[in-house]
Subunit: 499 residues, 2 copies
């Protein structure tokens, strides 16, 4: 068959797969936002059936033959089709290289482990979860071996979440963080804290809903293409660039929680909504990687939303909605309050500076677990020791320690580092952007559209066309360099805390 | 193949078809309630692809052979399976008896006609819509001929919405209504109207949201299985008995609009949520017919929600949420206000008494259109003449007359009568229920659960197991009798207006 006919079949397959992705995406979003509580079983059955049909549409001898035939003719493919082929062949291989029984056993295990983890966390009982964690780690290592027998298992896992990233690369990265940031965190611990009294109070959910709309408008998130929902845990879900959903949770005693989650998810949403039209119907329609996605959400949340320049935009909105609470607050006081550094035990509640410390600890432990230098039974002690050393904290129990995150219970090892690397990408991208446009001036003027346009051109429009490291280098004109991140944090927090 | 194996294949087919129904149902609900405006095209593509896959899953030689083989062995099927087979064979025939090109042409036409109708209504230009209406009626008549060549076309259409109903049956029904209700409407026109001043005012959307929740709780609609959404036009959508959605619209100047739409849709929702577990995975999982569904929604809306006995339940809730507006309103005043009769031009805004007059007019016109005694070009004049004669109104233009409803533009002829027949079923069902339990006492005591239980046992649990006429006779112990409805209306409104 000629290349043109093969490509046409290939594009048609992509479109058909997207239909199932769309259906499952909407069903999942509806389940999180709108569905009544008892709907779970029906949704589970439908999702199971749809994912099986979708699996069978992709994993079958005809598709394999099609992918192989296209691979033979890869030299004559355009760049987009070649990238699509690369990613779909990778996914095909990653799915089929694992024996079906083992795949099913792992799925069964991680489903069980999820509820055991929930129980264990509630009862503060690590030994209860430990055998599951051991088996999950064993499965992860074995699957990595099936996928790339000649590559260290943890590198294979890391690559699944952040294409091209290796443990050695992260060793360097986190060494820089450890060297530069741990002393900064300790120094801040000695300094007086800013006044945050005006953030205490009750902020009714309805007023926070209005605030969320104002923030999205300020960030120029197109409401015609992006809806805002409410869920227990905020997330972004994008079906096409014309249909993106972000969610938040309104806690009446905690204004900043929803405020910054809306800005964070808006960053994810703007990324998805900025991918080129031409990529919408295939596997390149989403952000380049977990880390690159986090770079956008954190750039908007921290580097814009928590910048000094943003406060003259934010404060009038807060004063408008909450005249009593914010009538006398100054821009400087607001700036200091939203950037308070308080080392804590819980990752998801961490401030901008200490967040990466939580990730660094998880990376060190995962790395040791998979190179054999750490046993699962020694994990809690290793965890607690690091929280003491890096954050100066005593972990009172495993529920607030090693059992706090859901990720490992789902077999997701190698996922955490992308959270931190995203912040580092963001700092480097911001610096590159600041060479081209007046970023601070744009923020201060409320002209976020100018920033959206620059990021849209350099990052968003490319979707998954390039691996994240290459995309970063294209956008910034140089390879990844963690010192942008540490310099940014040191400058910001040294000034904030008068060090 | 033995019967057991055939039945097992048949049930499996049902389950697979339900998965697509579920997916399309959720996507549609999400589209109406949550999706951003520009999502329409992506949703349209996905819906198109899913309905094609679902169509091909059902309409194919293997399924036809399966249905035929089961039909051969129908004597040995249990009652549920036999009914499922009957309905699925009917659907198979109704789909396949129409030549594919004609089916596609009709779909194309009704899609075009939809936007022409919208334009024509806006411009008050019936001649613009007329050729489309003519072609839609021609298609409907031809399709009816394909479906049942020996049956009058309009009877075939009626049967699609209300199994077993014929034009002759409706001639009798509407003759009773005409004779009994038209004089009543005219007499009420001579009487003074109740005071409704306390219903004028502004009722913020958020307070109406709280009211809606209170009403659902009062009606004992299980919030764990039924969610409440917001849409331009209220509707009920049920995926399973454990996952039902009702919607409403909050108009700040019109408290009763949302109040009674929530009760109305709760009636639909309770019906769907009451169908037997055993019927959930097949074609019998929903209400028996359009008319039987309307009987439940209208029984809750009008016979419960607008009853005198309900006002002691409703008024305290209104006083709690709107102390200023309702502090001094009496139960009697509220009862009279929610039952005000005002003949109007618009069907969707009609009160309980005049509603069926609107339907009667549409039935008479459809009937005449399909027996050849009325031409499409004479429709507006015939419409206006009837509004004058039955409701005493002069129709000022076609936009508020013959162009007001969407139904005909979608080729839905024979649909309207089910709206009215539902009210008549409701009156007869209510009377049967009142022979078994103290309905008024239960309402007055706020014990709606007792009513739900009776209706659940007599109507809801059976789903589509029986044709509506048979179900009604089983529930009431006698065949359909329209005088229950006319007696109920005459008694209620004669007393209300002191006639």
């Amino acid at each position: 068959m000629d290349t043109q006919a093969l490509v046409s079949q290939f594009k048609d397959l992509q479109r058909r797969l997207r239909v199932y992705g769309y259906a499952m995406g909407v069903i999942n979003y509806d389940g999180e936002t709108a569905a009544p509580r008892q709907s779970a079983q029906g949704r589970g059955e439908a999702m199971g059936a749809l994912s099986l049909i979708s699996y069978e549409l992709f994993i079958n001898p005809e598709v394999e033959a099609l992918l192989d035939a296209l691979h033979e003719q890869r030299a004559s493919l355009d760049a987009q089709t070649a990238r699509e082929l690369y990613l779909m062949r990778k996914e095909y291989r990653q799915t089929t290289c694992i024996p079906k029984e083992e795949y099913a056993a792992a799925a069964q295990l991680s489903s069980e482990a999820g509820s055991v983890w929930r129980d264990a966390r509630e009862k503060n009982d690590y030994p209860m979860f430990m055998p599951y964690l051991q088996k999950l780690a064993d499965f992860a290592a074995r699957f990595a071996g099936y996928r790339k027998p000649d590559v260290p298992a943890y590198d294979v896992m890391l690559d699944e979440y952040e294409e091209g990233v290796t443990a050695a690369y992260l060793d360097d990265y986190f060494a820089t963080l450890r060297r530069e940031l741990v002393p900064l965190v300790h120094a801040i611990g000695e300094r007086p804290q800013p006044d945050t009294a005006f953030l205490r109070g009750t902020f009714p959910a309805d007023s926070q809903r209005r605030l969320a709309r104002r923030l999205m408008a300020l960030l120029q998130v197109d409401a015609e293409r992006c809806a805002l929902g409410e869920t227990a845990h905020p997330f972004t879900s994008s079906f096409t660039k014309w249909d993106t959903r972000i969610t938040t949770r309104y806690e009446e005693q905690d204004l900043l929680s929803s405020l910054y989650s809306v800005i964070h998810e808006s960053g994810h949403g703007l990324y998805e909504m900025g991918v080129d039209d031409a990529l919408q119907h295939g596997p390149l329609a989403n952000g380049a990687s977990m880390g690159m996605h986090e770079s956008q959400s954190r750039l908007y949340e921290n580097m814009i939303g928590r910048s000094r320049a943003f406060q003259p935009q934010l404060l009038p909105i807060l004063r408008d909605i909450y005249p009593d609470a914010f009538g006398k607050v100054t821009e400087d006081a607001l700036y200091r309050a939203v950037n308070q550094v308080v080392p804590g035990l819980i990752r998801t509640e961490a401030d901008e500076l200490t967040y990466s410390m939580h990730i660094m600890i998880r990376f060190e432990l995962e790395r040791a677990l998979f190179d054999g230098s750490l046993k699962v039974q020694d994990l809690p002690a290793a965890w607690n020791e690091r929280y003491k050393s890096y954050l100066g904290l005593t972990v009172p129990n495993d529920a607030q320690g090693v059992l706090q995150d859901i990720h490992w219970s789902g077999g997701a090892f190698g996922y955490f580092p992308s959270y931190s690397i995203g912040s580092a990408y963001a700092a480097q991208i911001y610096a590159a952007m600041a060479r081209d446009i007046d970023v601070e001036g744009s923020i201060a003027a409320g002209d976020i559209g100018r920033i959206n346009t620059w990021l849209g051109d350099k990052i968003h429009r490319h979707g998954m066309m390039y691996p994240p490291a290459q995309l970063l280098e294209m956008a910034c004109g140089q390879p990844f360099d963690a010192t942008y991140y540490t310099d940014y944090l040191k400058n910001k927090y040294t000034a904030l805390y008068g060090l």
